[in-house]
């Protein structure tokens, strides 16, 4: 039975091992030549048209154009083959369809700290396109599952019915390690693209370091950041990227990046709050720095998770900063009230009404004030 399991692992691994030539820039004839690839592309064209009519695209054309521009810079000769869409979605991720459409989640834009980090992710995704990873994975899955089907039958006929499970396990492991291999490849190709575009070489390692920091801050029963589940990460990858960077320098373009995304951060954070992964979100907020907006959101997060003392501290920091949103006073009021500090709560609510006289919830706040008096 062990021989059988070894034999099929070998078979499956060899089925997986076939590597395809890169797709050449601008060359769709290559795709037409492969009938399975053509089928996948046709299916993806449908998915792309569904995305375009889904209402998920971010309406800010300037932002769309900016991200497209960064993608083009790292895609270089593949620029004309790639369409980039920023979609309204919380979470740390971007994805590449085999026919060249890339989706960038707003949750990714909230997390990357500068243009170079964005470019690192986009370069990685372009590499998946260039190396035709979807097709490779489809072919290896097809070959492996076919092999498993026949082997399971052979095992059953030969009286080794139980071997079927082993065979399946071996297949899953083979496919998993295969997808890790693709990620490694995309890492190193993406890194080359990043450096070729004169971006800060450290950026790629920084992205993974930040993703891992979020994961570490999560409760054990929570799913890891999406980026990590679709791009199996490891300390090894991080080490590799950090070693590659090795003080090569390059531009970060933090200012340019900020100009494009800053005005959206509030809505993006609100979307993340809705997800309830406070530990991980705290890591993100801390990275955004000690400004009033980040402090306000930390207050919201702590108040919702019942950490009243921390909420109070965060709101206090928020209300003294010039860029704090008016709602920070409301949050402060609610927190103080829940602690029984009524007169302070009253002052905070009054302050809210003064700062935001047009707010939609003024009637509610007036009712609170009446009750407190």
């Amino acid at each position: 039975m062990r021989t059988l399991a070894t034999a099929c692992t070998l078979l499956i691994t060899s089925a997986c091992a076939q590597s395809l030539p890169d797709i050449a820039p601008g060359d769709t004839d290559q795709v037409v030549a492969e009938h399975d690839e053509r089928g996948i592309w046709a299916e993806m064209e449908q998915a792309e048209s569904a995305l375009l009519t889904s209402g998920a695209l971010v309406a800010d054309e300037t932002l769309q154009a900016y991200v497209r521009e960064v993608a083009c810079r790292v895609a270089s000769d593949y620029c004309g083959d790639i369409r980039v869409y920023v979609v309204e979605r919380a979470g740390f991720n971007a994805s590449m369809a085999p026919n060249g459409f890339m989706t960038v989640w707003t949750g990714l834009l909230l997390r990357v700290e500068n243009e170079a980090q964005l470019a690192a992710v986009l370069g990685h995704e372009v590499a998946h396109y260039q190396r035709r990873h979807t097709l490779e994975r489809w072919r290896s899955t097809r070959a492996a599952t076919s092999a498993v089907t026949f082997l399971s039958i052979a095992a059953a006929v030969g009286g080794y019915g139980g071997a079927g499970n082993l065979v399946q396990l071996a297949t899953q492991l083979a496919l998993l390690s295969y997808s890790r291999e693709q990620e490694r490849e995309a890492d190193s190709l993406g890194f080359e693209r990043l450096v070729a575009a004169s971006y800060d070489a450290e950026a790629a390692a920084a992205v993974w370091r930040n993703a891992l920091a979020e994961q570490d801050a999560m409760d054990e029963d929570q799913a890891p950041p999406v980026l990590l589940s679709t791009h199996p990460a490891s300390d090894e990858r991080l080490t590799n990227l950090a070693a590659l960077a090795d003080m090569r320098g390059g531009e970060r373009f933090a200012g340019r990046f900020d100009a494009a995304v800053a005005r959206h951060r509030n809505e993006w954070i609100a979307a993340e709050i809705g997800k309830g992964r406070y530990g991980a979100l705290d890591v993100v907020l801390q990275r955004l720095g000690d400004n009033g907006v980040a402090s306000y959101w930390r207050g919201e997060m702590f108040r919702r998770s019942g950490e009243t003392k921390k909420a109070l501290a965060a709101y206090r920091m928020a209300v003294v900063s010039p860029e704090a949103p008016a709602v920070a006073h409301r949050g402060l009021g609610l927190t103080l009230w829940s602690l029984g500090r009524d007169s302070e709560a009253l002052r905070a609510f009054t302050r809210y009404l003064v700062t935001a006289p047009q707010a939609k919830d003024t009637a509610m706040i007036r009712a609170y004030i009446k009750e407190l008096k």
Partner: protein, 232 residues
């Protein structure tokens, strides 16, 4: 990227269900004296090859051939019944292959048609508020009325799959061992929509393990079954 998954899943699930009688709406459908014209919307068609293990591999060539064959067969049917057929073409001012609002209607029909099938196939899922076929694509249909001179629009969603040679081998081995290995399967649903108000005035579904729209003859047969009972 998994846009088609829920639809595909529903169709697969329905395939496993016991087939009940097709839904027969209480038709308020009456042919006027003049010739009726039908706009055939972009069909949502996909054909797949079944791998040995039962995975579905999309096949663009088959899909395109089936799309053309079915379009031809639809045209033939309506010509025979003296109805005017308009094949969908995007409005002249549109740069896109399919106008986005028209595309939305095709997606809406997928969703509504899936709901009709879902609630119509099993008595336990039947909706008490809908004893007869009473579904609509809503007032949004007006965009079609404005852009095309037609009385009705026909929407079709269709999937078909064919065994690869490996799958056929597996079926033979399976049969010898007394196991049933599932082969190709075709599913689809089709609606006739009144362009005045968006109501679905006729609906039919198909679920079959025979038929091959990759061939002209097979496409004619599949189309005939899809249009079975159409009062046009």
């Amino acid at each position: 990227m998994r846009a088609g998954t829920s639809l595909g899943f529903l169709l697969l699930m329905l395939a496993a269900c016991v087939r009940t009688d097709p839904l027969l709406p209480e038709l308020e459908f009456a042919r006027s004296a003049e010739t009726v014209s039908v706009l055939v919307m972009p069909t949502n068609i996909a054909l797949y090859e079944i791998t040995v293990a039962g995975l579905l591999e999309p096949n663009a060539e088959w899909t395109e051939t089936a799309r053309q064959n079915i379009a031809t067969a639809l045209g033939e049917h309506f010509a025979k019944h003296a109805a005017n057929v308009l094949a969908y073409a995007p409005p002249q001012n549109s740069l896109l292959r399919h106008h986005p609002e028209h595309q939305q209607l095709v997606k809406l029909h997928d969703a509504v048609g899936s709901a009709i099938l879902f609630h119509g196939q099993l008595p336990s899922l039947a909706l008490p508020t809908k004893p007869v076929l009473d579904y609509t694509l809503g007032p949004g249909i007006a965009v079609l009325r404005e852009d095309y001179e037609a009385d009705y629009a026909l929407f079709l969603t269709f999937r078909d799959s064919f065994s690869s040679s490996g799958r056929v081998a597996l079926m033979v081995i399976g049969a010898a061992l007394g196991a049933v290995v599932q082969g190709g399967q075709q599913f689809g649903f089709i609606s006739l929509v009144d362009l005045n108000d968006g109501r679905i005035i006729w609906f039919n579904s198909l679920n079959s393990s025979v038929g091959d729209p990759r061939q002209e003859k097979g496409a004619r047969e599949t189309t005939r079954r899809l249009l079975d009972g159409l009062p046009l």
